[in-house]
């Protein structure tokens, strides 16, 4: 979606503010939001793609004014409401007014480290790749209203395939469906001039990962 998350190449967001690597959190509530978000994953009401879509679906004025953990909290609240696990009346009351739907899936403290250490690989058996390393491709003018991982700055641009990663879960589909719909995934490299025009940094190359439905073959 052409939402507030699609930031690559945009102007006007100011200076980067570095911080020491010993800074892990900036408030106690941030820790709880991290923990709650990860602890709710095993309830299996959503997946990583639908949770990303919930974050980017926040209204732009809210998204740009929120810290990232606030974005996570707002999206988590929306996902839980959509799943029917919590209601606006409960949020207003600050207490549960009905039982939960999936307490049987509650993540235990004993299981939490193992779940984090296992992670969730995204590679799957899937279709053979149509492109090979070295192929020239053009990204499609792909602007779905739903979730996509093709950034706006790299739409309709010619690049070169530099890696083939096998088939991965296709986020454009999986964000809106339990079906994973695996598609071949590539790393595609662009010269900055192709992305940004005459003022681009001539020493800059940018790569993205692109699923096959984002790409067409481009004549050499």
């Amino acid at each position: 979606m052409n939402g507030p998350q699609d930031l690559g190449g945009r102007h006007g967001f100011g200076a980067v503010v570095p911080e020491p690597e010993t800074d892990r959190f900036h408030a106690a509530w941030e820790k709880r939001v991290l923990g709650l978000t990860l602890a709710c994953g095993p309830l299996a009401h959503w997946n990583i793609d639908s949770s990303r879509h919930a974050r980017e679906s926040l209204p732009p004025a809210i998204y740009y004014n929120a810290s990232y953990y606030e974005i996570w909290l707002r999206a988590l609240t929306n996902l839980l409401e959509r799943a029917g696990e919590i209601g606006a009346d409960e949020l207003a009351a600050g207490h549960a007014l009905r039982p939960g739907l999936r307490p049987d899936r509650c993540l235990t403290a004993a299981d939490a480290p193992g779940v984090l250490a296992r992670g969730g690989p995204a590679d799957r058996p899937g279709p053979a790749p149509a492109f090979a390393v070295g192929d020239r491709v053009r990204t499609r003018n792909h602007q779905p209203a739903g979730h996509t991982r093709l950034p706006g700055y790299a739409r309709g641009r010619v690049g070169v395939v530099t890696a083939v990663h096998g088939a991965h879960v296709f986020p454009d589909h999986h964000a809106h469906s339990p079906e994973e719909d695996p598609k071949p995934l590539y790393t595609v490299q662009f010269d900055a001039g192709e992305l940004y025009g005459a003022d681009a940094d001539p020493t800059l190359t940018v790569s993205i990962e692109a699923w096959e439905p984002y790409l067409d073959r481009s004549p050499a």
């Binding site: 930031l7 190449g9 570095p18 991290l34 309830l43 207490h95 549960a96 984090l116 990663h165 800059l204």
Partner: protein, 215 residues
Amino acid sequence: MHDHPHDHAHGHDHGHDHDNEMDEMTARARALETILVEKGLVDPAAVDAIIETYEHQVGPRNGASVVARAWTDPDFADWLRRDATAAISSMGFTGRQGEHMVAVFNTPDQHNMVVCTLCSCYPWPVLGLPPTWYKAPAYRSRAVREPRAVLAEFGVTLPEGTRIHVWDSTAEVRYLVIPERPAGSDGMDAEALAALVTRDSMIGCGQPARPGVAA
């Protein structure tokens, strides 16, 4: 700022918007956790365990040990180039947000930088949680377009001719930058070398510390 009279107790003076916002976020996070715990959907001890993992166990010292080993063990460096997921996993660093790893090596001719323009994708098992700036619009918008200006804000100046490759993490592939081994570090062992490796150098926004200069 709200202007209605306050008759509830205040622990401190609400002098500016920032404090008010923090208080509101604390209240909202607490309310959501209360509801989820009362429903049996969340075990607060599991939340504690997740926080403990990323506050004290999984962090950039993991990545620093990978970099130091790459500097001292050519076979391991080759393995990182061929299959970073397996090489990094062999050191015990696995899991969430590190399932598909790629290591990119800086050279005198090419500097690598990593960003996620669309959200906050970051290699957690080797670097821990992303810093605030990595998730913020300034870095996400500018890293893919004017990386030299961004690097200057980190105090890094590259030679004019150095090429820059920026890796935008748009899928589940996660990138670890292997910075160049600093001059004057000959003879140092992997543990001493790891102490030179900064988090920012593994994102491509810094350089390792020089021997004898605190990181």
